[in-house]
């Protein structure tokens, strides 16, 4: 097949999953390994159609278990690599992610969440918040976790995810939901070939004369050594705190703050608008990085605002981190929908009104 030239900057109307896949190619993706699962199968479909004409490689593995271990192998060999899946598939990958975190390999993981538990539903959910930000697999580790709320951020956070993964040698997670994956919006795509990747000197590329062998492993059988690896990881997670990102909207004069991530944050912005029409001063804080978590901004906002409402598409997961951040300074309540149901602005408004009585 004849290879196409590098794409320039473009503005397009695209579906979330396809925009993410296009962004990955433009970000210089070397390899993608995956297994089909709704609602994110378009990612691999788009890549298998486009990569042969552009650059990189894509391989449909026999399972999510194989996919994540292929990600390990390719990352260990120095490639810029990613996988994507949806909730049940991400569960299958957890063991491999733990190994990747321990071996300190950079990679991008995408979870386009669907409703669970179990086989659940293919409709959108945020039920994997805990899994994404608390580690997910065995042992003490973290993923640099980004939560897009627009199709544009599905594009931008691919670049940001690779950047952070490579800067800190950690797996990065792009935590989206089924609606973001499926909906279409206008996106601005950056030009291809602007995000160079150098093969790191620790990668397994063949032991050249004069250098020691490179080994990628997560096995440190002496407890003293294993503890040191843990301390190093924790120090790195601490250092990552400078990368924290959040968005605050109309919080200056607010009497009540809505806290939400991803798609739900946009619904909350609409709910805040409706509330202000009714004279209730509502602001919104949207965590953009879920790990590191925007503890500081929540804590300082709680010095002034005494009511917080956390809205999520789950039974209440991020609300725990909001409560830890606010540390008793304010009343933190929760409103959630589960099982693939998306809350609408009106029901959030009803809850807001009940809190202001």
């Amino acid at each position: 097949m004849e290879k196409q030239e590098l794409k320039g900057k473009e503005i397009k109307l695209m579906k979330g999953n396809e925009a993410l896949a296009e962004a990955a190619i433009r970000a210089g993706l070397d390899a993608y390994f995956g297994y089909p699962i709704t609602p994110q199968s378009e990612v691999m479909e788009y890549l298998t159609e486009n990569i042969p004409l552009r650059r990189g490689l894509v391989l449909q593995a026999e399972s999510e278990v194989a996919s994540i271990n292929m990600v390990y192998g390719a990352a260990g060999a120095g490639a810029r690599v990613m996988t994507s899946s949806s909730s049940p598939g991400m569960s299958l990958m957890q063991e491999g992610i733990s190994y990747i975190a321990s071996a300190q390999l950079p990679c991008l993981l995408v979870n386009v969440m669907r409703g669970g538990p179990g086989l659940g539903t293919i409709q959108p959910s945020q039920g994997d918040y805990f899994q994404a930000v608390k580690g997910g697999g065995h042992g003490d580790y973290k993923l640099f976790t980004l939560a897009p709320s627009t199709v544009q951020e599905m594009v931008d956070f691919v670049f940001e995810g690779f950047k952070m993964a490579e800067k800190y040698r950690v797996p990065a997670m792009l935590l989206a939901d089924g609606a973001l994956g499926q909906m279409m919006e206008k996106v601005e795509l950056p030009a291809e070939g602007q995000f160079p990747h150098v093969i790191p000197d620790w990668a397994t590329t063949g032991k050249k004369e004069g250098r020691k062998q490179n080994v990628i492993t997560s096995l440190f059988i002496q407890p003293e050594k294993m503890e040191q690896i843990n301390l190093d990881l924790q120090a790195k997670y601490k250092a990552m705190e400078i990368e924290v990102k959040s968005e605050s909207i109309n919080t200056e004069d607010a009497d009540l703050i809505l806290v939400a991530f991803g798609l739900v944050a946009r619904i909350c912005m609409k709910a805040a608008e409706l509330a202000r029409e009714k004279g209730i001063k509502v602001g919104v804080i949207r965590p953009i990085t879920l790990f590191p978590f925007p503890t500081e901004v929540l804590n300082t906002t709680a010095d002034r605002v005494k009511k917080f409402l956390v809205v999520e598409m789950n039974a209440g997961q991020m609300v725990e981190d909001v409560r830890l951040s606010i540390n008793g300074k304010a009343d933190v309540q929760f409103y959630g929908r589960m099982g693939g149901m998306i809350p609408n602005p009106e029901e959030i408004l009803t809850k807001l009104e009940s809190m202001m009585k």
């Binding site: 278990v65 590329t205 490179n214 080994v215």
Partner: protein
């Protein structure tokens, strides 16, 4: 002093190839792993490909293979060595890639990865060490444990009706179109070691052709797990293992066409 007292073809022991790190093996006395490591690394040295080889270590007794093999290596999760090796070879097709796994790793927990790696015809060498037992965890039943064999989890002997039959995964894999070269060897006699050396050489040579997966089973022993002396375990290989797992080529490239063909009687 470059004078051989014995015919070089008869050499089965070379003190210290540069392709080994020199770290003493941790393996039990009489275990086949040390010999297999050494033979594999001697072949890497003889072919002059140390700088181009990337290996994948398993979970099991040989989990620390990278402590001994002086090449770039990755340590895979239990069962996933061939998936890891697949990815390495895909992103670095110019390198030689091998995986090294035991029977529990390759033929139980990693069965899906094993079959699909060979089915895709990944251009790697898969080394499969079959000693019919889980050594590292303390001698439990393996997928290749023989009928009647006593292990920590088959204390009354393996019973086919309740525990299943020993799996001949090498024969199974040879049926797949992606398999280019499939053979079963052993390391219990000097002659067997010589044949294995040749097989490893063939496998790395074939990897250059990009024609598919090379898969070499090595029937080995586990004196500790089998609760035998090393000498008894060698005898047990001859009497019990080899009738079930006969040695020799199973699928080889046709000398004329280069296409892989099944060897008769297999």
């Amino acid at each position: 002093m470059e004078q051989f007292l014995i015919n070089p073809d008869c050499m089965v022991y070379d003190n210290h190839p540069v392709t080994l790190t020199g770290e003493p093996f941790h393996y039990c006395p009489g275990c086949g792993h040390g010999v297999i490591h050494k033979v594999l690394m001697e072949v890497v040295r003889d072919l002059g490909i140390q700088e181009e080889v990337i290996g994948v270590a398993p979970v099991g007794c040989s989990v620390f293979a990278y402590h001994y093999m002086n090449v770039d290596m990755q340590e895979a999760a239990h069962g996933r060595a061939s998936a890891v090796a697949t990815a390495i070879k895909r992103v670095r097709p110019q390198n030689y890639v091998f995986s090294y796994q035991g029977d529990g790793d390759l033929a139980a927990i990693g069965t899906a990865e094993t079959i699909h790696t060979v089915n895709r015809g990944e251009n790697i060498l898969m080394v499969f060490v079959n000693n019919a037992i889980y050594g590292m965890t303390g001698g439990q039943m393996a997928p290749t444990s023989l009928i009647g064999m006593k292990t920590a989890t088959s204390p009354y002997g393996r019973d086919a009706a309740s525990m299943g039959n020993p799996i001949k995964i090498t024969e199974l894999l040879a049926q797949l179109p992606g398999a280019y070269y499939v053979a079963r060897h052993a390391v219990h006699t000097p002659n067997a070691v010589r044949k294995l050396t040749k097989a490893f050489k063939n496998a790395f040579e074939y990897q250059k052709l990009n024609r598919g997966t090379c898969f070499i089973e090595v029937v080995s022993n586990c004196p500790s797990g089998w609760k035998m002396s090393p000498v008894q375990s060698i005898d047990w290989i001859e009497k019990n293992m080899l009738p079930m797992f006969p040695l020799g080529d199973i699928k080889v490239p046709d000398p004329k066409t280069g296409d892989p063909v099944m060897v008769k009687n297999n």
